[in-house]
């Protein structure tokens, strides 16, 4: 398990909040996740899975495609907030998660459950 983040402070913030505890056995790599050199440093050539969950849709799409199409990582997931973009790339064969649509569906479900009571 390797986490890549371009902000070195992100790692210390995560440990302060108790998210990254001492039990976390993985490695941390500082750098841009769309940069092939950074991904290689993170060991992408021997990765079985790759998840792109930065705040930028386009960055996630690009990083995921590098993982999937250039390094042939078997399991790749990209988070894409923009529903249209998520749909477009899902159709192009990228496994995408769209929190916007998932969130809306969940809210709708909770709302309707309450109503039917």
């Amino acid at each position: 398990m390797v986490i890549v983040d371009r902000d070195p402070n992100a790692f210390s913030r995560a440990s302060t909040r108790g998210v990254l505890t001492r039990e976390f056995k993985g490695d941390q790599v500082v750098g841009n996740g769309t940069d092939v050199d950074v991904l290689r440093r993170a060991g992408i050539e021997r990765a079985d899975g790759f998840v792109a969950v930065t705040e930028g849709d386009n960055r996630n799409i690009m990083a995921s495609q590098i993982a999937k199409d250039v390094y042939k990582v078997p399991h790749v997931v990209a988070r894409i907030y923009d529903p249209e973009r998520a749909d477009a790339y899902e159709k192009l064969g990228l496994h995408t998660i769209c929190p916007t649509i998932d969130g809306a569906r969940h809210i709708e479900k909770v709302l309707l459950e309450r109503e039917s009571r």
Binding site: T34, D35, V36, N58, R85, L92
Partner: protein, 133 residues
Amino acid sequence: MYVIVVGGGTVGYYLSRDLVERGHEVTLIEKDARRADWLETQLGSIVMRGDGCEVRFLAQTGIERADAIIAVTADDEDNLIALQMAKRHFRVKKTIARVNNPTNVEIFKTLGVDEAVSATDVLLAALEPPLAT
């Protein structure tokens, strides 16, 4: 030729201006409203404000009849997504990217971009004779 330029920074501005001077039809796409306003004072109505990565916006630019699309923003990921949408959604024949990170030249070609131009590579090639390593 009808050419769409994505990104109205320095490169996009001069590129669009030259293309117009050479008699081509051009649409210049710029995301930032203030920058788009300024570009319009210089280049007139060829400027459209919007996100060149959005299919719905691209559909308003007459992209189906574009001969080429050139993405020249400062963000490689934005250039890649705009060109992939143009190629796969609208079947634009020629897609050309400016890449800011030279290692992306090969990556872009693998991911379906026709031409990827790196300023770093151009500058290195200008060092003649090549520096001995």
